[in-house]
């Protein structure tokens, strides 16, 4: 089993784990963590695609690697915006309304 195959398994499992956290965890910050786990799983899949594309003297295809770098920065920006929203919600409404947000989330899913 090569490192790339193994990374493929990790990536797939990370997507599943993150999705589980995103769906089941009521706390917004945990949902953000879940989103980040899915994101890094997806990036790993790009990574094995890159590794399988090793050619021309490069140990990995540079194009998917560059896409992962772009993706990591975008994912960070997304986390920052999401965290700012969560904190603002707490400031404006306090934990009480967030709890009702949870219950409404639950009722809908």
């Amino acid at each position: 089993m090569t490192a790339a195959t193994l990374a493929g398994f990790i990536g797939s499992a990370l997507v599943g784990l993150g999705l589980y956290g995103l769906i089941t965890d009521p706390q917004p910050i945990r949902k953000i963590l879940g989103f980040n786990l899915i994101g890094s799983g997806v990036f790993l899949l790009f990574g094995i695609v890159a590794r399988k594309g090793a050619a021309a003297g490069f140990a990995a295809d540079p194009v998917p690697q560059a896409m992962v770098i772009t993706g990591i920065v975008v994912a960070f920006s997304a986390s920052a915006l999401a965290i700012a929203l969560v904190l603002r919600l707490y400031e404006v409404a306090g934990p009480v309304s967030l709890r009702s947000e949870h219950t409404s989330n639950k009722a809908e899913k």
Binding site: L87, E91, V92, G94
Partner: protein, 95 residues
């Protein structure tokens, strides 16, 4: 030689993993943040060992970066836990 490097890396990673189990479970958050510090140093070591065994170039910079960032995470943690009254946001909760 490579096998030696890799075995060393493996042993370090193993000790880190064992340590991780112990410290991530707490009881306090200070314990937990120590886990990442442990992982930082252990990770850097095994990283350098693996890199030199597999012939990946440019890993020294990753190691440098990891070392800096592990310290950075620790400071951020202390900043949040050790300064409980630093939260100035309470003021605008009423608006």
């Amino acid at each position: 030689m490579n096998d030696f490097f890799l075995s060393a890396a493996g042993i370090i990673l193993f000790t880190v993993a064992v340590g991780l189990v112990r410290v991530l479970s707490g009881p306090t958050n200070a314990d937990r943040i120590m886990a990442t510090q442990l992982l930082g140093t252990g990770g850097i070591t095994s990283l350098l060992l693996v890199a030199s065994a597999t012939g990946v170039r440019g890993v020294d910079d990753v190691a440098l970066g990891l070392a800096l960032l592990a310290a950075f995470a620790a400071i951020a943690f202390v900043d949040n836990v050790a300064a409980p009254d630093s939260d100035t946001s309470k003021g605008d909760r009423t608006e």
